[in-house]
Amino acid sequence: MSEIEATGDLLLFAGEHDKVASVAPVTAISPDASLVESVRRGDHDAFGKLYALYSPMVHGILLARVPRSEVDDLVQDIFLVALNRLNTLRDTNAFGGWLAMIARNRAMDFYRQSRETEELSEEMAGRSSHDTEAREVLAVIRQLPEAYRETLVLRLVEGMTGPEIAERTGLKAESVRVNLHRGMKILRERLGITETV
């Protein structure tokens, strides 16, 4: 699996001019960095906290890309991979961006390996009307460009705010704001929701 360490002004999703997503340069030492250091030393509580902080982000990134039934297992896989490679992370402040990159790459690998059976299992499972509506909206979101997709899932499913998305993923706040507003506008159009002024 190819993996890029997010440590600078790395531009993501290049080639699509209308979407803005770039990694923010990390300068100050974040409180999460000390958590990462504690996890490196084998601190269980620190690992629990780090998981609670970052698992929604990983879950959201995966949910925007892979079948829902696979997401939970993949989240755990990604954390295991990250734990194994934690010593290779040079800048602990960039943990979020690094983990997000692992999650994106893992989602791509998932599609390279197997695909059809996952979609079937999702179809076969019995759902409530609320859940059916959620799946329908998710299906629409998944048809949006990647940068919008990820930001909207993190905002609407995981309940993260714009600043939280920027902080966790290591993206610039302006990029997240633009993607959130543009993505929401397209989603409203596709769902037939008229924007209230």
Binding site: G42, A52, A134, G159, T161, L180
Partner: protein, 192 residues
């Protein structure tokens, strides 16, 4: 503003966004870190056994230093052996350089000027046939000896020479005084 609500949930809430949040919130994961704890413990145990990069670097540095010292020691020993062998070689033939050079280059005396060309040639050939094996060996030793004398050896030699001269001077003065005493005693005659 409704834009602010989408951005950071502040300001006036957008009812459509709120509805979407309610619907989509059901897709959140409910799994915690508990399932991963055994794997985490296993990993951290394995990592605590594995030496860290810093320790590996330190061990590598120490190993390199020991290796360098070993190589240096071996080289020193070899040089020492070579020097001993050379000094032994010189001791086998301790003939002074000057006498060797004299032997190698025969003096051009006036008696030889009257000789004929053939005579001188014959003499030269007999000289070379007589001297050549010994001469070559000595020459070789002299060359080697000259090339092996270092600055330190020269200084040591000079110091030894000075010490020997001083000792000789002291001995000669002592001998003089003893001689004078003996001579004085003889002039005075026997006491008994």
């Amino acid at each position: 503003m409704k834009d602010d609500y989408l951005w950071d949930k502040s300001g006036e809430p957008d009812p459509e966004i709120e509805r979407l949040e309610r619907i989509m919130g059901g897709l959140r994961s409910r799994r915690g870190a508990e399932d991963l704890m055994p794997a985490f413990e296993k990993l951290s145990r394995r990592k605590s056994v594995r030496p860290s990069a810093k320790w590996l670097a330190f061990a590598a540095t120490v190993a390199f230093a020991v290796l360098a010292l070993g190589v240096f020691g071996v080289m020193q020993r070899q040089t020492g052996k070579q020097e001993t062998a050379k000094s032994e070689m010189v001791m086998v033939n301790p003939t002074p350089t000057d006498s060797l050079i004299e032997e190698v280059a025969p003096p051009n005396t006036s008696g030889e000027t009257g000789r004929t060309e053939n005579d001188s040639q014959g003499a030269a050939t007999t000289q070379t046939t007589k001297r050549s094996p010994l001469e070559a060996r000595r020459r070789n030793i002299v060359r080697r000896r000259e090339s092996f004398i270092t600055q330190q050896e020269r200084t040591e030699g000079l110091l030894a020479k000075e010490q020997l001269l001083k000792a000789l001077q002291i001995t000669s003065t002592e001998l003089d005084s003893v001689q004078k005493k003996v001579q004085g005693d003889e002039k005075a005659g026997p006491s008994s």
